[in-house]
Symmetry: C2
Subunit: 210 residues, 2 copies
Amino acid sequence: MLQEKLNWRYATKKMDPTKAVPQDKVNRILEAANLAPTSSGLQPFEIIVVTNPEVKAQLSAAAYGQSQIVDGSHVLVFAAWDNYTAERIDAVVANLEAERGGKSDAVTGYYDNLKAQYLPRTAEVNYEHAARQAYIAFGMALTAAAFEAVDSTPMEGFDPAKVDEILGLREKGLRSVTIMPLGYRADAGDWLNGAKKVRKPMGELVTLVA
Amino acid sequence: MLQEKLNWRYATKKMDPTKAVPQDKVNRILEAANLAPTSSGLQPFEIIVVTNPEVKAQLSAAAYGQSQIVDGSHVLVFAAWDNYTAERIDAVVANLEAERGGKSDAVTGYYDNLKAQYLPRTAEVNYEHAARQAYIAFGMALTAAAFEAVDSTPMEGFDPAKVDEILGLREKGLRSVTIMPLGYRADAGDWLNGAKKVRKPMGELVTLVA
């Protein structure tokens, strides 16, 4: 079932601009991203959902003209925290306490220890760590899109500084990491549509230590 | 369906050491990891599957004693390429050509351009990029485990230099990124089993630019 969906999805190169993804499907894709596990449950990223045509055009230009960004109905920009801060970690702990019903010494101690580890590190080290977490959610959102029979394109090929500027991300303490247009594959014009999915032979991926 | 599975999974803290995951389930989890999309299709990582009890004990020690590594029946170590090289990229292209039936100027040109971009970069920059790709596959393997009703624990809390040494990864041009024990949750002894899954409110995850 999962594998059928993972085989169905592909990095769509040409989306049909006349077809929009229904909002309930977009919502379930975003909810899957929110369910992704992240290191210490920090969820150190946000997702900007762009439907505005002018902003999509600007994003496409910052992504070397990739047309899926304008032709897809919804463009998800995954943006990681630019750093870990005491305020951000405290907010995670506050939410955890509110949802699980109260403080616990174990939780307080765990996150105090985490702050002692993370806060002295450089912003770049912390951003790189946060970005990795965003990739887990990115993978789950791609998977969720396939379950919704929605096409998607995982994209790293863009100028992150320009995307950050277009969306005002740096002022919010965020940095763009990946982009995922959502839409429906066009009937024509996509050289990858129908091409054989190529992966490593399993024997090259996996080594057994038995 | 997907969301039900993502809600079912949790970072299992205590696995039942008497229960082993059947090999066909492990295989499907590995196949899902192999189906993950990666930047330019490079799949710049490998997965080491450890079932050997002595090696699991060493890995657990390198992971600050986390018991799931010894109690789970299979331990997946995701290891990223330490660098991009011409040989590695050429091997991907050769596989692509073999699977899709022949050379094309577009493919050759694309990967020549990629080599011109990647090979001058430092090993550290290339490793970080490769590691991010491994996280997409890591997320899909966690998802696949849930579809198999297999418990898993996403782990970053280990000493990567020690894990690399235990598995001889650096000699193979690999660096450990994440660890995923597979097994079955124990009936008792897991404080997280049954705890409410806590995530950000959707309004904090998502910003709409309409």
